[in-house]
């Protein structure tokens, strides 16, 4: 069920890499654990993060979780639609990208899981 064109982290983020750009979001498993998402705190364009840094927070009614950068780089785009419609994360988790990062080291996606490995993790 997890799209094979995405890579995943153990913290339940996904990343969609295209060239030196990467979209980042949270997985279906994450949104189910959180429940109804009500708020996202996302960084400003221009901020840079190393892999594993906290780049934002995601809140549901009952839980709050930090968002970890699956790759290192600079934030070049933030999904403003999600600020108005955080529920999209629940209805379309793998389409609801939160930020686009310009990769610091394009091609370096070491340590990320593929769809099969991630599916095993969430079993």
């Amino acid at each position: 069920m997890y799209p094979s064109d995405l890579k995943y982290t153990k913290e339940h983020e996904w990343v969609r890499v295209a060239g030196d750009r990467a979209q980042v979001g949270v997985t279906d498993y994450a949104q189910k654990q959180l429940g109804d998402v009500v708020y996202l705190e996302l960084p400003d364009v221009g901020k840079t993060f190393s892999k594993g840094d906290v780049f934002g927070t995601i809140e549901s009614v009952k839980a709050v979780s930090e968002l970890y950068a699956p790759v290192g780089g600079e934030v070049v785009e933030v999904n403003s639609h999600l600020a108005q419609h955080p529920e999209s994360v629940n209805s379309d988790p793998h389409g609801s990208w939160m930020i686009v990062m310009k990769l610091a080291n394009p091609g370096d996606t070491g340590g990320l899981l593929d769809a099969n490995a991630y599916t095993d993790l969430t079993k």
Binding site: V37, V38, Y39, E59, V61, K62, E87
Partner: protein, 971 residues
């Protein structure tokens, strides 16, 4: 034991009588209550002999004796001010809110569908604060003005942390014209977070490295100054600015929000809440909308219910300690809901015009006094003021002698004399105030002045309020007593309190709040005392503090008590600060690690973080107990830095852990202190004690074990008791430094090693200490011990009755639970297909007339039930019958006999409107919806709204009374 003397207070306080107890013991399968206790409480920690305390008094005898103690308090006319002002509690509010169990016995409104009344009133409170301060949003509510200032400071610290680099010194600027008690509370809260306070004339303080500034308006002297220049300067330097203010003054003065403030804090006490020798009162915090996720305190917000109608709920709970734990915005849990509701009702009753008239009356009298004193040659130094004059150059002893002879308390601040007026100030008082000054000058005291005078404010035009406030209809409708009485009642009947049915909230101890305990709180000898009144006028209070402090020492086995903390969470902070001070005093400043079991209440890690300590979580084993191996390993790992263990006993899992002494010994062996969270003290009193298990300090939630009502979300009190070696570090107070009357074991404020004040008032919310005092005096040792035993009996009886229907998660090796238990609802929750979860059960209980147990604490997907000793067998049986009937309803869903979506559980709660509507489309009957068991008909409680949409409310935050049109839009 002599448990059930007919007519004794304990026979009234404790629910089950002798025959009921026998029947319950048979159901449990134990021969006697003694045997049950032996199977429940480990032998190694039992008290060897009964507590040595006074015999129980009767209710009549207690009240008669208390009258004589009350007579030792002398209520002077208070002109002390400093954030506390006498006021008139409108009788309709006194009788129908303050003294009404419908308002004072409910819990915090987590179960919003049966709490719409107080949620509406709290929304009114937020609107009052928001309007008068001219800010975007307000929370409801904080504990006192001092801690509200601290919450503003730490909010700014978090907000600014995003801008400043790590490691930079944090500096918070504070005007030296803030109240001294606020300064002291700030000192205590700043230091552990490495915030440096710079106190002085704000215009002269260097702003380069600072992140925020606190001003007071009107200030400590009573002076009203234009804040715009200093706020503009601070903003230009990148600071955020908080203003401590006074709601009544803001009816006349330009509000801080219009001068650019980023936060406004203060005390709403003078909106009809009695002084109470320091509390309880509701403090407030108002701020910008952009900061709402960093603001401390509950926020009431609008949402919609399942039928699309507007409904209220607590919004944005992810800010709070029960979810975010050590990352929470604050450790605040218990707030001051009852008092916030009173303040809101005061505004509803008087309306904007009435409030303004009150404020003008106060100001006019101050003007008259200023003129008269000027004529007598006194120098008043506040260029502009609202209600407070400051006289300099007078002979303080002469004025004081004359004033005290006339029964008036002024503020004596070095060589200056402060005169604060309030709505109770009469023309006679004006005459006597002037007369006291005249007498000090040797004049004959014949005072001539003119009154009434036309309103002519002495404040410059730029500081006179021009903007409207409280324009919402709710503040412009209920001005006759009939209307007001009905408005209060219309809200009250939407809420479930203990006057409706048992509230089986685990960890909350919703026991009886007896009328005889409550009545004295309104006696003027207790309610009209200013917290900084001279000690010789408060001998009655001193006696109560001494006796209560002594009783709490005996109950805990400790050496000293501080009655200052206003909540359990504040007690935790105070206790951890005392531990921290102890380590530092011994040259052990590196001890900064607190071990906290994973099952701990969220306040524990939140308080530890506030105290600048590092939280290390230790594991629990499959029985819910602290895992000794992990504890030992972590104690060893942190042996050089271990400051303390925070442990709840009996555990939050509802079990008396057998290893508790060993747990404490491991921590002591590695240089740490043991902090015991006293939330579950109701299972200990008279059987064991915090000292007996090996703890060094504990707090006592007086609003749990010691009968202070929950007030719909506060007030509470969280005194701490400490072993002898920690006594020197109990909190001090900058104004009242004497001990509580001299008894060495009782509450004291201010040894040389004392930590700064925890609360703004020296004995916290002093007036409600009377409730716990009455509880202890009327139950006596036998009664309190019996209460503990029956609390354990009731819990084990519930367990026996629910056995076979639900799984109880944890019990000890004898199969016994302490005073509460967790039952598991996770087996009914499935990702796909038919599924019932804990909130379905919670909402369905409302249809049966019950408030849910604690939901998803300490284990997600479960409920925790605590019956308390006050519930009789027949009420316990009704509650069990309801839960068993619900279990059958769950089974029907599981087996596909009921629709997976359209069933009694998913559609709960059912409102009268829905059940009586012409249209009924559900596959079950109306009777199954509303009257699922015969007993429900006898005492039906109709939820005011259907299931509330929680995500909607958090996604569309509206947290003030919305314009009437907004309701139409949501429909």
């Amino acid at each position: 034991m002599n448990d059930t003397i007919p007519g004794s207070f304990q026979s009234r306080h404790i629910g089950p009588d002798e025959p009921e107890r026998d029947a319950m013991l048979r159901a449990i399968g134990v021969p006697s209550l003694d045997a049950l206790i032996d199977q429940t409480v480990p032998p190694g920690i039992r008290l060897e002999k009964p507590l040595d305390m006074p015999e129980a008094d009767t209710e009549f005898g207690y009240l008669r004796r208390l009258r004589t103690i009350a007579a030792n308090n002398q209520v002077a006319r208070s002109c002390i001010g400093m954030g506390y002002y006498d006021c008139i509690t409108p009788s309709v509010i006194l009788r129908n809110v303050f003294e009404n169990p419908g308002w004072y016995t409910p819990y915090t409104p987590y179960q919003a569908e049966i709490a719409q009344g107080r949620l509406e009133s709290l929304l009114n409170f937020q609107t009052v604060v928001k309007d008068l301060t001219a800010m975007d949003i307000a929370t409801a509510s904080l504990l006192d003005e001092g801690t509200a200032a601290a919450e503003a400071m730490t909010m700014f610290h978090r907000l600014q942390a995003k801008k400043t680099s790590v490691g930079q010194t944090s500096v918070f600027l504070v005007s030296d014209r803030c109240f001294p008690q606020t300064l002291d509370v700030l000192k205590g809260r700043a230091e552990p977070l490495d915030i440096r306070l710079e106190i002085g004339d704000p215009g002269a303080l260097p702003m380069e490295n600072a992140f925020g500034l606190l001003l007071q308006y009107p200030d400590d002297h009573g002076e009203v100054r234009d804040l715009r220049p200093i706020i503009d300067k601070a903003h230009a330097a990148g600071l955020l600015v908080a203003v401590a203010s006074d709601l009544l003054a803001l009816t006349l003065l330009t509000p801080p929000g219009e001068m650019g403030a980023d936060a406004v804090i203060g005390n709403s006490q003078r909106f009809g809440v009695p002084l109470g020798y320091g509390g309880p009162h509701a403090a407030f915090l108002a701020t910008r909308e952009a900061f709402v996720r960093q603001a401390a305190g509950r926020i009431i917000g609008l949402s919609v219910d399942a039928r699309g109608q507007h409904a209220l709920r607590m919004a944005l709970q992810t800010r709070e300690q029960h979810i975010r734990r050590e990352k929470a915005t604050s450790n605040i849990c218990t707030a001051q809901a009852l008092l916030a509701n009173m303040a809101a009702m005061y505004a509803v009753y008087h309306g904007p015009k009435g409030l303004r008239a009150i404020a003008e009356g106060v100001h006019n009298k101050a003007r008259v006094i200023e003129d008269a004193l000027a004529a007598l040659g006194f120098r008043q130094t506040n260029a502009a003021y609202f209600d407070t004059l400051r006289i300099e150059g007078a002979s303080v002893p002469a004025v004081r002698t004359a004033a005290e002879a006339a029964g008036i308390n002024f503020r004596y601040d070095g060589g200056a004399i402060g005169i604060s007026l309030d709505e109770t100030t009469t023309i006679g008082d004006v005459r006597d105030i002037i007369g006291a000054f005249a007498a000090a000058k040797g004049e004959d005291g014949t005072v001539i002045f003119k009154y009434p005078v036309p309103f002519s404010p002495n404040v410059p035009a730029a500081l006179r309020r021009t903007s409207a406030y409280l324009t919402h209809p709710v503040f412009n409708t209920h001005h006759s007593e009939t209307k007001m009485m009905r408005y209060i009642r219309s809200l009250e009947r939407k809420d479930v309190g203990l006057d409706t049915s048992m509230i089986p909230l685990g960890s909350c101890t919703m026991k009886l709040n007896a009328a005889s305990e409550m009545i004295p709180v309104s006696w003027p000898e207790f309610s009209r005392m200013h917290p900084f009144a001279p000690a010789e006028q408060a001998k009655g209070y001193a006696q109560i503090f001494d006796e209560l402090g002594d009783a709490l020492c005996r109950i805990t086995g400790f050496a000293a008590v501080s009655l200052q903390p206003n909540s359990g969470a504040q007690g935790e902070f105070a206790g951890l600060m005392a531990i921290r001070a102890y380590h530092r005093d011994r040259g052990d400043a590196k001890r900064n690690v607190v071990l906290i079991p994973s099952s701990a209440h969220g306040t524990n890690p939140a308080s530890a973080t506030m105290a600048g300590l590092k939280v290390v979580v230790t594991k629990c084993d499959s029985n819910g107990n602290v895992e000794l191996g992990d504890l030992h390993a972590k104690a060893e790992q942190y042996k050089d830095t271990l400051a303390a263990l925070m442990v709840t006993y009996p555990s939050t899992h509802g079990v008396f852990e057998e290893d508790i002494k060993e747990i404490c010994a491991i921590v002591h062996g590695h240089g740490g202190q043991v902090y015991m969270d006293g939330a579950n003290m109701n299972a200990q009193v008279g059987l064991t004690s915090p000292a007996a298990i090996g703890a060094d300090v504990c707090h006592l939630n007086l609003h749990k074990t010691f009968a202070i009502p929950h007030g719909g979300g506060g007030p509470g009190m969280g005194p701490i008791a400490v072993a002898k070696h920690l006594a020197p570090y109990l909190p001090g107070h900058p104004i009242v430094s004497a001990s509580g009357g001299g008894a060495p074991r009782a509450s004291s404020n201010g040894g040389t090693k004392a930590i700064p004040a925890i609360s703004a008032a020296p004995w916290g919310s002093a007036s409600i200490l009377l409730i716990s005092y009455g509880y202890i005096r009327m139950l006596g040792v036998d009664g309190m011990t019996s209460a503990t035993r029956v609390a354990i009996l009731n819990a084990n009886y519930l367990k026996a009755r629910l056995q076979g229907h639900y799984d109880v998660l944890y019990a000890n090796h004898n199969g016994r639970v302490a005073h509460e238990m967790i039952f598991d609802l996770r087996p009914f929750k499935h990702a796909a297909g038919a599924s019932v979860d804990e909130s379905d059960v919670a909402k369905r209980l409302m249809d049966y007339g019950f408030h849910a147990p604690t939901v998803s604490f300490p284990v997600a997907g479960t409920m925790m039930i605590e019956p308390t000793e006050s519930e009789s067998k027949d009420e316990l049986d009704r509650f069990c019958d309801a839960l068993i009937a619900i279990r059958k309803e769950i089974q029907a869903v599981m087996e596909g006999k009921a629709d997976a979506k359209d069933n009694v559980l998913k559609n709960a709660p059912h409102t009268a409107e829905e059940v009586s509507a012409d249209q009924w489309s559900h596959p079950y009957t109306r009777e199954q919806a509303a009257y699922p068991l015969p007993f429900v008909k006898a005492n039906k409680f109709w939820p005011a709204v259907a299931r509330i949409d929680n995500p909607y409310g958090d996604r569309n935050l509206i947290c003030a009374c919305p314009p009437v049109e907004a309701y139409a839009e949501t429909l």
